[in-house]
């Protein structure tokens, strides 16, 4: 029985807050409904990052998005990491707290990359135990994001969407749907991205990431340094019909363009959202 209430539904449009746009967010009224920050960038003792986050939080709801929890570690989670994240959660009162369906750490080694999991019952038990522990430490239900993947494990019996559905069922967590990651993984592993979206428990989706990717040799690479591709926009239109209006944002991690460019992409998402709502109402 999940111990924490399901994360709330928030139907707004936002951006990932990046250093290049700090001044825009501090000096002007940026037309977004929320911002998302990388949690680890603000899990520091003091200084300018925390001051900026405090000032941005006065203007916008903030989602905390982590990259280092390592929910798939067979070794479990780090207590010091959870304590620092809890302190940030208490300071920010975030809209959502999320991290990835991946692992980074084994023993004392921490790769700082989102490494793939085999979708087995063994891994499912580990991930669910770690999500439970994280949610207990944070005092709230999390969102779990699907990562991009470049490696499939031949003997894994579950699909990614079955694996995610089981985690939601067993832990009460919600989902952060990264549609670019769906697109990249589908191309790399040869499954249908629309079937992937149809397979997840749509009622658990609370947030959507939209991003771009690059072609790297024979594989697509999740670079998050390009505009959202046409294929990802198509997936978004489909996801809206399944998930309804949920918090949607452009996630750019590299080659950060001027803010106006990201806001223009966000307007495309708003238009698709409005069109979907009109169809739903008709």
């Amino acid at each position: 029985m999940p111990a924490h209430p399901s994360p709330p539904v928030f139907a707004g449009f936002g951006l990932g807050l990046r250093r290049e746009h700090y001044r825009d967010f501090l000096d002007t009224r940026v037309p977004v409904d929320f911002v998302e920050v990388i949690s680890e960038n603000f899990m520091v003792a003091g200084g300018q990052p925390l001051d900026i986050l405090r000032r941005v939080r006065e203007r916008h709801p903030v989602a905390l998005h982590g990259v280092s929890m390592s929910l798939g570690s067979a070794d479990g989670l780090r207590r010091d990491y959870l304590a620092r994240l809890r302190a940030l959660v208490d300071a920010v009162d975030p809209l959502y707290v999320s991290d990835h369906l991946s692992w980074s750490r084994i023993g004392r080694f921490n790769s700082h990359d989102l490494l793939p999991l085999p979708y087995t019952e063994d891994a499912l038990d580990v991930v669910c135990a770690n999500v439970h522990r994280a949610q207990e430490a944070l005092g709230r239900a999390m969102l779990i994001e699907n990562p991009s993947s470049y490696l499939a494990f031949a003997d894994a019996p579950l699909t990614e969407w079955e694996f995610l559905a089981s985690i939601c069922e067993r832990t009460g967590c919600g989902l952060l749907l990264d549609l670019n990651n769906v697109y990249v993984s589908a191309a790399n592993h040869g499954f249908g991205p629309f079937a992937w979206i149809d397979g997840i428990p749509a009622q658990r989706v609370r947030q959507i990431h939209l991003a771009g990717h690059s072609q790297g040799g024979s594989l697509l690479i999740d670079t998050h340094d390009q505009p959202v591709s046409d294929g990802v926009w198509s997936l978004y239109a489909h996801a809206l019909t399944r998930c309804g209006p949920v918090a949607t944002m452009i996630e750019r991690d590299d080659a950060i363009p001027p803010l106006a460019g990201l806001l223009a992409e966000l307007d495309v998402a708003r238009r698709l959202g409005a069109a979907s709502a009109m169809r739903e109402a008709a």
Partner: protein, 253 residues
């Protein structure tokens, strides 16, 4: 293969590129594994480049990437935060180029600046509240962001020139060691070179958490009048520059 065994194999692949774990993970097709290994190394190199921008400029991209590759080989990342990976890069530089202490010292400066930038906050002292302090018995607390060291080379001049956007001077040994401090004032991390005696007094005040200790040192070195005057000037500077952040209220009876 269970999850723990798989993750151990993945670690071995990332850190050593050994064929055996790669075979167990994929059965032969290494394209995906190669992406993960590239991401792993690129992430760490990117972290070092972000932490040591002036060092990279000073030694050039090729030498920097060589040093980064050596560092990644000798020191796999362990901390939960990627930002910590820059710790110890100076030691790697020392191992590669033992005859170039300027590189280690330049790395020390950049690491100290990066650490100071996110150190714990501490408000500045209110000088008006210091009038009644018994300085003989007062306990001093310096900024949590404060780092201090002795330099043997002109690394601070190199850093300053590059920070100002100019060409860096050639590396050189100093005629005598100089003190250097890094700390954060407001939101800005700062670097300052100190006279050797001033550095010694600051280091002593910080270690002993007292003003009496550096006073005694300065009087012993300079004589009573000049020593007391120098101590007073240093105290005023520590307060004005926000190096000193707390004086425990030990009032005169």
């Amino acid at each position: 293969m269970n999850l723990h065994a798989m993750q151990r194999d993945f670690r071995r692949w990332l850190t050593s590129s050994e064929a055996a774990p790669a075979r167990r993970l994929t059965g032969g097709d290494r394209r995906g594994l190669a992406v993960y290994q590239n991401n792993y190394r690129a992430q760490l190199v990117g972290c070092l480049e972000a932490t040591y921008p002036h060092l990279r400029t000073f030694i050039g991209a090729a030498a920097f990437h060589h040093a980064a590759a050596v560092h990644i080989g000798r020191l796999p990342p362990r901390a939960w935060t990627l930002d910590a990976y820059g710790a110890g890069f100076g030691a790697t530089l020392g191992a590669i180029w033992p005859a170039n202490p300027d590189l280690q010292e330049l790395a020390w400066i950049e690491w100290a600046l990066a650490s100071a930038f996110v150190a714990r906050d501490a408000g500045p002292l209110d000088p008006a509240r210091l009038a009644a302090v018994d300085w003989e018995r007062a306990r001093l607390d310096f900024a949590p962001s404060l780092h201090e060291a002795l330099l043997t080379t002109n690394a601070a001049d190199i850093w300053t020139a590059l920070q100002d956007g100019g060409p860096a001077p050639a590396a050189a040994m100093l005629a005598a060691p100089a003190g250097v401090v890094v700390w954060r004032r407001g939101h800005v991390a700062r670097l300052r070179v100190l006279d050797l005696l001033d550095h010694e007094a600051l280091a002593l005040a910080r270690a002993e958490r007292s003003f009496a200790a550096p006073c005694a040192l300065l009087v012993a070195r300079l004589g009573a009048d000049a020593g007391v005057a120098r101590a007073g000037a240093l105290l005023a500077d520590w307060i004005a520059s926000e190096l000193l952040t707390r004086v425990s209220a030990t009032r005169r009876p």
